[in-house]
């Protein structure tokens, strides 16, 4: 680890001031950043601890939920309104990491956690455009079973590892930001950048911008939503692929639907094409398959991860089928 100074921010204004004008990094639970500091993949000169900033989960009169960025993953997952109104979010968080890590990890840090690509971590032995721009990417021709099938580029095919973010993009979450230049909001779907030719640029955040809160707009039909994660072992493993889903069916016709995928792309992947293919259609298995195809026909599988295309397709269809059956009391649509 390179040396750095440490300061605990008293409030949001203090945090953005402390981080201004230096090579500072905000510190949440540290469950990703401490690793990156040890590996010298991050070399800040100052850490600004933001775990003391607002962490309340507030239910607002318009039905939205405002979650302070310092809320721990456990606090969000166990919150009554999250469990009952947005269960896909509780499901996604509790499918990630371990209880100890969820107790430490914050909402802000979870959103900005970095990829688990092994070549990114392997300084000594591998080339990586994200770590050393212009060097090349050893994953593209290498062991890429865990890498992206959607949204990658010839520069980088790393995936974003978060489970929580997959549910948040499906729910249309909006991120609240603050810097010394003021405040703004950004839909979470627009926060992460695709790699294109500069995979070292991972977000559209401006220098020193702090995530202060995440807002989940009211979405009544999300009360039956879910999240399904497929992984190599039953617990404590990153996703091979995952699906967050909510569907609103009336008289067998799909009124509205939300779908997002994890483990398949450099960002939490909102399945806009699949959603568009489903709206207004009868809720049948055939239509679920057509919609999955609409999202995945652009997929560019690599040497080792072709299985992800079929697995994402089947999982999306199965999750929608299960949600519709559950609402119909077990009967086939």
């Amino acid at each position: 680890m390179n040396p750095f100074t440490y300061a605990r921010a008293a409030d949001v204004d203090d945090a953005v001031q402390l981080a201004a004008g230096s090579q500072a990094k905000y510190l949440g639970g540290g469950t990703n950043l401490v690793d990156l500091l040890r590996e010298t993949l991050e070399r800040p000169t100052a850490l600004v601890d933001v775990t003391g900033l607002p962490s309340a989960i507030e239910e607002r009169s318009d039905g939205s939920l405002l979650i302070g960025a310092a809320a721990t993953n456990t606090a969000v997952a166990e919150h009554h309104s999250v469990r009952t109104r947005f269960p896909m979010l509780t499901r996604a968080i509790s499918a990630g990491a371990s209880a100890q890590i969820r107790n430490m990890a914050t909402v802000g840090g979870n959103i900005l956690q970095r990829t688990r690509c092994n070549y990114f971590y392997d300084h000594a032995g591998s080339r990586c455009n994200k770590r050393s721009p212009g060097q090349g990417c050893d994953a593209i021709e290498g062991a890429n079973r865990n890498h992206a099938i959607l949204g990658g580029s010839p520069s980088c095919v790393a995936t974003h590892p978060s489970d929580m973010c997959v549910a948040l993009v499906a729910l249309g979450a909006v991120v609240h930001l603050q810097s010394t230049r003021g405040t703004r909001t950004l839909p979470l779907t627009d926060l992460h950048r695709l790699p294109e030719t500069s995979p070292d640029q991972e977000t559209f955040l401006k220098p020193g911008e702090l995530i202060t809160a995440v807002e989940i707009p009211a979405l009544p039909f999300a009360s039956d939503s879910t999240y399904r994660k497929v992984r190599d072992r039953a617990s404590y493993a990153f996703a091979l692929i995952s699906v967050a889903a909510a569907i609103d069916v009336k008289d067998d016709i799909i009124q509205d639907v939300r779908l997002a995928f994890g483990g398949v792309a450099p960002k939490p992947w909102r399945a806009w094409n699949a959603e568009a293919a489903l709206k207004g259609k009868p809720a049948t298995l055939e239509n679920f398959c057509v919609a999955a195809e609409a999202e995945l026909s652009d997929a560019s599988p690599l040497r080792d991860n072709g299985f992800k295309v079929a697995l994402t397709n089947r999982t999306m269809v199965a999750v929608l089928d299960a949600l519709v059956r559950e609402k119909n009391g077990g009967s086939n649509p």
Partner: protein, 171 residues
């Protein structure tokens, strides 16, 4: 006044260097070698300690300076007046270990787990998210303890020890 954190009831000064992890503070600076360094990257649970006596965290991923003013309990702080914590005794009674390397983390973690169950925190295997209380089952213990690996594979004894202690506590 020096800044401190409390370790097993004793105030100790924060390290001067903010790079020192809570794990290294415990083991290398305070010679509390019960807490173990398995992976030093969040993947094994051997370094689990308790915050405020009940919240389980990984000391390897924690910078010690972040925990100023907090109460940290390691395995050394669990026995009271020479009497083992009920979970420590249950691990012995049920052979919940073989080499013992993962055990301090397993025991701290299971204390944290029982507190989470009491609070009704749902897990990946909890069916009904709207339920206020969680049904205690082998499946729930397995899922909730998945952050603590045991290379010796003493899992059956560990689950038996936790189940018995829990059963006694609710009786």
């Amino acid at each position: 006044m020096p800044q401190t954190l409390s370790i097993n009831g004793t105030d100790v000064p924060l390290p001067d260097d903010p790079r020192v992890s809570l794990l290294d503070l415990l083991r290398d600076h305070l010679q509390l070698a019960g807490v173990k360094k398995g992976c030093n990257q969040g993947a094994c649970g051997a370094c689990t300690v308790l915050l405020d006596g009940k919240e389980r965290i990984l000391s390897c991923m924690a910078l010690a300076v972040q925990y100023e003013g907090r109460k940290v309990t390691s395995i050394e702080g669990l026995a009271a007046n020479g009497t083992l914590h009920p979970l420590q005794q249950a691990f012995i009674d049920h052979d919940g270990f073989q080499c013992g390397y993962c055990t301090p983390g397993q025991i701290c973690s299971s204390i944290g787990m029982v507190e989470e169950l009491r609070r009704g925190v749902p897990s990946h295997v909890t069916d009904d998210l709207s339920a206020e209380t969680i049904a205690f089952s082998r499946e729930e213990i397995q899922e909730r303890m998945s952050g603590n690996l045991c290379r010796c594979g003493a899992y059956n004894g560990i689950i038996a020890a936790i189940s018995e202690t829990h059963a006694k506590a609710v009786r």
